[in-house]
């Protein structure tokens, strides 16, 4: 899950396994959610988004699930590869306020 502080939550998975990264968002008025991937020394990169009128959206090897009841978002990465190693963070937007970014979860993929 997300946390604020110097130490990011870390998820370590074996190459080929599925990864699930979680995010708790804060504003029930948020209606648009985005997952970003940030590799070391680079800027964040868009992965997938979802609007609040959906529960699930799939991309290439990635799926985002949205549970508005508990204000929870998850990113599932299928068949995780070494190139997936990065920090992943969610963002919530809409409701008339500025985008709020989570601190992120660091994903390590073991070969």
């Amino acid at each position: 899950g997300e946390s604020v502080g110097l130490h990011l939550p870390t998820l370590s998975v074996q190459e080929g396994d599925n990864s699930i990264i979680n995010c708790a968002y804060s504003n029930s008025a948020s209606d648009y959610f985005i997952w970003y991937k940030q590799e070391s020394g680079k800027g964040p990169q868009f992965i997938i988004d979802i609007r609040s009128n959906m529960d699930k959206r799939q991309g290439q090897r990635v799926t985002v699930l949205l549970n508005k009841t508990v204000k929870h978002l998850s990113l599932q990465i299928a068949a995780t590869q070494p190139g997936d190693s990065a920090v992943y963070f969610c963002a919530e937007a809409g409701g008339g306020f500025k985008t709020i970014f989570g601190a992120g979860t660091r994903l390590f993929v073991k070969a």
Partner: protein, 112 residues
């Protein structure tokens, strides 16, 4: 398309010095943003712009200034640098306001 480009990649400043971080995008996006990213923290919005000639403060604007004379360019100015401004700065742009943002590679700034 180069996307969003930022210069410089890295800079060391002494306390009290000033500098401008450059940001350019070639996607014809109206919306542009400046963020700072501190270790283990989420991105914090410094300033944003909804179009040429229009800028507004974000969450942490103190110590910074921006201008937007063209659609493509959105420079961030630091006046009287302080150690608290040591951070990584990201510029971003988007097609729709606050929706999917495209980020530059970042500028790492160290103030000593």
């Amino acid at each position: 398309n180069a996307g969003v480009t930022q210069t410089p990649k890295f800079r060391i400043l002494k306390i009290g010095q000033s500098m401008t971080l450059q940001c350019t995008q070639d996607m014809n996006h109206n919306y542009m943003y400046w963020y700072r990213q501190d270790p283990g923290m989420g991105l914090k919005l410094i300033y944003y712009s909804v179009g040429a000639g229009i800028t507004d403060k974000g969450e942490v604007p103190n110590g910074y200034n921006v201008s937007r004379s063209t659609t493509e360019d959105f420079p961030l100015r630091l006046e009287l640098a302080a150690p608290s401004q040591t951070s990584v700065y990201f510029c971003a742009s988007s097609w729709r306001f606050q929706e999917t943002q495209y980020f530059g590679p970042g500028t790492r700034l160290l103030v000593l």
